[in-house]
């Protein structure tokens, strides 16, 4: 177990290293240098002297390998460099401002998704072939097929524009004065309701299906037959024998779903102007602010990789049959 843990963590570090390297070289593979792209995207066009100063400032005149070494060294101590756009602002500061918003939104949405999805899947599997099961499959597949950003637009149109129940975007009511933290939290949560609901709706269907199929898989196993032959009642068979074993593939699916969650975060945060890491990645890309883009991608990738490692370790811990 201990050996496996170490092996798995080393593997994770290698993965991060590869992703970080891709992250570095991708922007250097662009024609011209990254800063020129940024300058060209500015309304005033290029100013020769200014460009030269900035290229020196950001170290873009150094040889590629030296830039790479500096980049790696800085990452190790948590430095992401400086933003092209917001001159003099360290990217790590921007990231730190944005990170809590993403963690709160995605954490809430993911927790709700998993609970609702698993509950629906359990209900469907228990009634295999009945109406509740068939509608779960069809609705689940359809929800999975809805583009998340579009569902966000529809929600803004219906619940924001027409009904006026929820704000159209943002995280806090502009210009509002909060007399205590509680008021602040209420306003924050009120803004979070729509993006969170959209995220849950789109992903819960997939969860229900995975749970249902995992349970049905388990039902074909011999130990379920044994449990029934022993005379255990269906309830015990279902919860003590079937569900517990079906949780194993679910843990793997939780890990794999983090990539999907990251994609959902970028689109949902963009649609609802939720100032998190996902929206930062989008803004940075649009503004050619590459240090910000690199850092945002790095944060997302590290979270996904870490989640994968945790899920793998959890799996090994939960399943006594797995020997490493």
């Amino acid at each position: 177990m201990r050996e496996y843990l170490i092996k798995r963590i080393i593997q994770g570090i290698v993965t991060v290293f590869v992703v970080v390297s891709i992250n570095f070289f991708l922007f250097r593979a662009m024609p011209g240098n990254p800063f020129m792209r940024f300058i060209e995207s500015q309304p005033r066009g290029k100013v020769k002297e200014m460009v030269d100063i900035y290229i020196k400032l950001f170290g873009l005149d150094k040889p590629l390998w030296e830039q790479y070494l500096i980049y790696m060294k800085n990452l190790l101590v948590g430095k992401f460099g400086y933003s092209f756009r917001q001159v003099g602002v360290p990217v790590s500061k921007i990231i730190m401002e944005r990170l809590p918003n993403t963690l709160i939104l995605m954490g809430t949405a993911t927790t709700l998704t998993i609970i609702i999805g698993i509950a629906l899947g359990v209900i469907a599997a228990g009634r295999r072939g009945e109406l509740a099961d068939i509608s779960t499959v069809i609705i689940g597949l359809t929800l999975y097929s809805i583009p998340i950003f579009w569902l966000g637009l529809v929600f803004i149109l219906v619940f924001g524009f027409w009904l006026g129940w929820f704000p159209l975007w943002g995280m806090l009511t502009p210009g509002k004065y909060f007399s205590n933290p509680f008021e602040y939290a209420v306003d924050y949560l009120w803004h979070m309701t729509m993006p969170c609901t959209v995220l849950v709706l789109v992903s819960a269907g997939g969860w229900a299906l995975i749970t249902r199929n995992a349970l049905l898989d388990v039902f074909t196993e011999d130990y379920i037959l044994t449990a029934r032959a022993k005379g255990l009642d269906e309830r015990t068979v279902f919860y003590k024998h079937a569900l517990r074993n079906a949780m194993l593939p679910l843990v793997t699916m939780i890990a794999l779903s983090f990539g999907f969650i990251a994609s959902g975060a970028v689109l949902t945060e963009t649609v609802f102007s939720w100032y998190g890491i996902g929206r930062l990645l989008y803004e940075g890309t649009m503004q050619h602010d590459y240090p910000v883009v690199q850092a945002a991608f790095f944060m997302i990738a590290v979270c996904v990789i870490a989640a994968n490692i945790i899920a793998d370790i959890l799996y090994a811990y939960l399943d006594p049959r797995v020997k490493y």
Binding site: M30, V137, L153, W162, T220, T285, F297
Partner: protein, 296 residues
């Protein structure tokens, strides 16, 4: 009939059995019919679209005009007919979806076969690479790659296809692991067939149904990715796709004036196309996955 079955090559018999099982799946057939409708729309778009969608002559109405008899789904911010745009958009979505899924499946197929067949160091190396690609967060990476490569349809296809092969590679590899122990591979080897010959003439036909099923499932993901990238403004501005329509709707404030005719229809069509492929993929999965078969 029975004789015919025996004379057929094993993979041909497999395909036939596959189709027989697929025909029984209501979900699968619903998907197939939906797909055929969209294919028809894509092919006939230039004929059935009431107005032109490209060039200056496409400005046929008033900007943000609501639906009317002349313009069934109203007009966009430049006064272009939205119904015609929807029909044309089918082409880009299906084209990108198919091509990206084809590319991903092809890479996955080759890597899966080579990895499974040779085993050892090659297998280790290829599977490590697969593991790394598998955990790269999809859309964020696509956004960066698309931004670096620049907006064009082929780039979008490439960006989506280059990441989407990992699942296929793993699945094909595990199939090949069991296939290569079968007698017919042994026989081919004894007859002096080369590795390449065995891999592509003997093993590949046997994993094709699985690869095909993976491709169909891949299309749904690819269509969604294209829509997402285009919505974020990374799509090809010279072509109309449903994602691009939603991008313009959002950018030009369709939400602020409640222009539902601009926002709702493209999303319904994206969902419908993705549903078609998801339903078909689900049916394939039920047929090909031996665990489900046992239950019947």
């Amino acid at each position: 009939m029975a004789n015919e079955d025996v004379e057929m090559a094993p993979w041909k018999r497999k395909v036939k059995g596959f189709w027989e099982a697929f025909k029984r799946s209501k979900l699968g057939m619903t998907g197939l019919i939906l797909l055929l409708i969209f294919l028809m729309i894509a092919i006939t778009a230039p004929i059935i679209a009431p107005y032109p969608v490209y060039g200056p002559e496409s400005r046929v109405g008033i900007p943000f005009e609501p639906p009317s008899n002349e313009h069934w789904l109203g007009c966009d911010e430049l006064g272009r007919d939205l119904f015609s745009q929807l029909l044309w958009g089918t082409r880009v979505s299906l084209f990108v979806g198919f091509l990206a899924a084809l590319m991903a499946t092809f890479i996955g197929l080759i890597i899966g076969i080579v990895s499974g067949y040779f085993g050892g160091v090659i297998d280790d190396l290829l599977m490590r690479i697969t593991d790394i690609i598998l955990v790269i967060p999809g859309l964020p990476f696509m956004i960066i790659l698309a931004a670096v490569l620049g907006p064009s349809i082929i780039n979008i296809v490439f960006v989506i296809g280059i990441l989407g092969w990992t699942g296929t590679a793993r699945l094909i590899r595990s199939q090949v692991l069991s296939l290569k122990e079968r007698p017919f591979v042994e026989a081919a080897r004894a007859a002096g067939a080369s590795d390449a010959h065995i891999m592509f003439k003997h093993i590949m036909p046997n994993v094709m149904p699985l690869a095909f099923a993976q491709m169909i499932l891949g299309v749904s993901g690819a269509v969604l990715s294209e829509a997402g990238l285009s919505f974020l403004g990374l799509g090809d501005p010279t072509h109309i796709s449903w994602g691009m329509m939603l991008h313009y709707a959002y950018e030009f404030g369709a939400l602020h004036i409640g222009a539902w005719w601009y926002v709702i229809p493209p999303g319904i069509l994206i969902t419908a196309v993705v549903v078609a492929f998801t339903f078909m993929g689900y049916a394939f999965d039920e047929i090909l996955n031996p665990k489900y078969r046992r239950r019947r």
